[in-house]
Symmetry: C2
Subunit: 429 residues, 2 copies
């Protein structure tokens, strides 16, 4: 496939107009202002359109699309204990399969090419994700509140099986991270056990960190004044590539540790507002040189996967948190949404429009009233674009979504089946 | 026109399914679960769709679409003095005409049916708005920093002419409000003069109030400790139907005054984040029973008119401002976006799906991945919808936008002409 006559967001996050971008197999093979001599098959006329890297959603729980809009206006504690946990107790495999497909459909609609995911029913999730053609860093969420010997735990067995079965699956489309759900849901022995096992296996780590003030304060009480980040660093959880989701209630020393340990932060601005958890101070993370990626969290607390909406909110919150409109440049923000996300997933050859990189890309329509006039395309991308201006999503060189058509997913069936599963779980028949 | 088999957001902001809604002329003539006996002409099949009141954008500056994305990451003061004011000095009539059409195209695309607007070049704005078929409460922004006698001012003359020429124009599609730009841009004599004249003429008032902390503090210094709201109340500016935009830096006494004087607040959440002005405490306004409407402000500080994005941000900020996720119910928020906005514009017969009301309505597509499954349609409207899920916009019974087609505006020409005007102003040829 050859994109011609198209603007691109290049590897330096600058706009180049009238470019040619050629795809061979799953990679970007050609990027130039000159027409290629070789043939690349299908031609895509990119007039009034922009080609940019797809979005790497750095934190999600895909099957929770089943709970979109299920409950509003509750505190985090009530939301979890009165609504989410009782619903989750009734989950079943097919429900997870269809809900994950729904999430993948929404993801490709909004330009997301890969998701760092944490949940369970991993086999069914992987089946749905592979069918969609999307990428995923999947992790089996591990909780051990009782402090039982981790060796005997079913979820630990599942976690290990997940790694052995799926890590590198489908030409690295599926990568496996391990996961401790959070500090407050497992005891120290379990965290140390998993940290050790993860290093041994050479896998990545995915963990919720300092999402709420309460969590952070209770951690200090439990662990001799140590914050979640201090505690996790000490027990060795950060000794491997790690995605730390949220990182709202953190201090300067925590930021120093994140930098020193090369921890990737996944900020989830909309979910954090919706549950009133707080606002992550992203400019302070940027200042330290920490890799900050962007996540949607699940649609149960968002409640969509519109990544352009997420990007914009991410940019706006960095400003208001510091009462300074000069913070969060559009380039920084676009880097976080793309390249930083890919790096957080250990996908070194993803997230840039660059020869030799994986062809994970999206096309954005600029020829719509909300994107005109054009003083500066990058500014318009961050602040004016709608998620629905994405008109093509490509993963590993394969077009998954184009102009209203979902090429790998039967969306009508998926919506029907997800509603059916939701009704069944709620006991409506 | 008859909508059949459609879900509606009814006059109590509840969802009713499988309804019939009939339009005669510019009004809603029939709302029922039973098919009408009378014929209503064209049939619209509303399967998997929702009919709701259109959005009343309570604060905007339409011609500023010319400056979309023109400058980012500046403080309000630098943004205004280094970028916006010098650009505005070079505005000309045709530029305003095309830019206003662009804004109207974007408005109808996003379900906005009416805008409370404050700017100048009023004749050209009105011409563009009337062509589009949208509604507008227009006001000629008045500034008099030098404190000259208002009787001799050109902008005062223009303001008076605007009222005489356009108030009630096109069967009340165009209403005229008067406007003092803000406390800091006119002296007290001018404010009193305009307040008096506005009451005499029986017009409404549109004013920026307490957008920034600096503005509020400087007002106190200038006016013996009085806040902008105390000052405006004292000089009589609130003795008529008033839209006070922003109201961020206000106190309990200010809120008492807003309630006592029945002032309508137009909150502009995204613009307020983008310029790092602050967060309006909407739950406290709701608590007092103040009518709170929602505005986009101009796209120079937003940078789009996606009203579903605005609604969601409005809801989220009310929660985070008070660290309480239980605040801002979806019903309150939808009321603010529709009926409250209509009331703020003095459009008593607008903003509800109700027999006898003006047919200002939109259709939202529910049959998309981001709106499924459906636990609760109202929750999905506030948190999951994209502005681009609007598939039909009707004003006064006339369809302006439907399924990608702009029926009153030649969008391609408008985008071309607006870019041309922008380039001309920037001296690019």
């Amino acid at each position: 496939m050859l994109f011609k006559n198209i603007s691109i967001l290049d590897e330096n996050f600058e706009i180049k107009e009238d470019m040619y971008v050629g795809i061979k197999g799953n990679k970007i093979n050609y990027v130039s202002s000159e027409a290629p001599i070789l043939s690349f098959g299908d031609l895509y006329d990119g007039k009034n359109k922009l080609l940019m890297p797809g979005f790497y959603n750095a934190h999600g729980h895909s099957p929770m699309s089943l709970m979109r809009g299920y409950s509003e206006n509750l505190s985090l504690q009530n939301w979890l204990t009165k609504k989410i946990f009782p619903f989750e107790e009734k989950l079943y495999r097919k429900a997870v399969y269809w809900a994950t497909q729904l999430t993948m459909a929404e993801s490709m609609r909004y330009g997301i090419v890969s998701t760092t995911d944490m949940y369970y029913f991993i086999d069914d999730m992987v089946r749905a994700i592979v069918k969609s053609g999307e990428k995923c860093n999947i992790s089996r969420a591990l909780v051990n509140p009782s402090g039982a010997n981790p060796d005997g735990l079913e979820c630990v067995k599942e976690m290990k099986e997940t790694a052995l079965t799926y890590h590198g699956f489908k030409n690295d489309k599926i990568l496996v991270d391990n996961s401790i759900h959070a500090e407050y849901t497992s005891d120290e022995r379990t965290v140390r056990y998993i940290a050790e096992y993860t290093k041994e296996m050479g896998l990545g780590m995915h963990v919720h960190v300092s999402e709420t003030e309460l969590e952070t304060e209770e951690c200090k009480q439990r662990h001799g004044g140590k914050t979640p980040i201090e505690y996790f660093a000490e027990v060795g959880l950060f000794d491997t590539r790690t995605t730390a989701a949220h990182c709202i209630w953190i201090n300067d020393n925590d930021r120093d540790i994140l930098k020193e340990k090369n921890v990737n932060v996944a900020s989830n601005p909309i979910s954090n507002l919706k549950l009133a958890s707080g606002i992550c101070n992203v400019p302070k993370l940027y200042e330290k040189g920490i890799n900050v990626a962007i996540g949607t969290d699940s649609v149960a607390s968002n409640n969509n996967l519109d990544f352009f909406e997420e990007i914009k909110t991410f940019a706006l919150l960095g400003k208001i948190k510091n009462n300074d409109p000069s913070l969060m440049t559009p380039k920084q923000v676009l880097h976080s949404a793309t390249r930083s996300g890919a790096l957080s997933q250990g996908r070194e050859d993803c997230g840039l429009i660059k020869e030799g990189f994986k062809a994970d890309m999206i096309v954005v329509d600029l020829n719509v009233p909300n994107m005109q006039p054009i003083h500066n395309t990058i500014n318009n991308l961050v602040y004016s674009a709608s998620g629905k201006d994405v008109c093509l999503t490509m993963v590993d060189g394969r077009v998954l979504y184009k102009d209203g058509e979902y090429l790998t997913i039967d969306v009508e069936s998926v919506m029907y089946e997800t509603n059916y599963a939701k009704n069944k779980i709620l006991g409506m028949f």
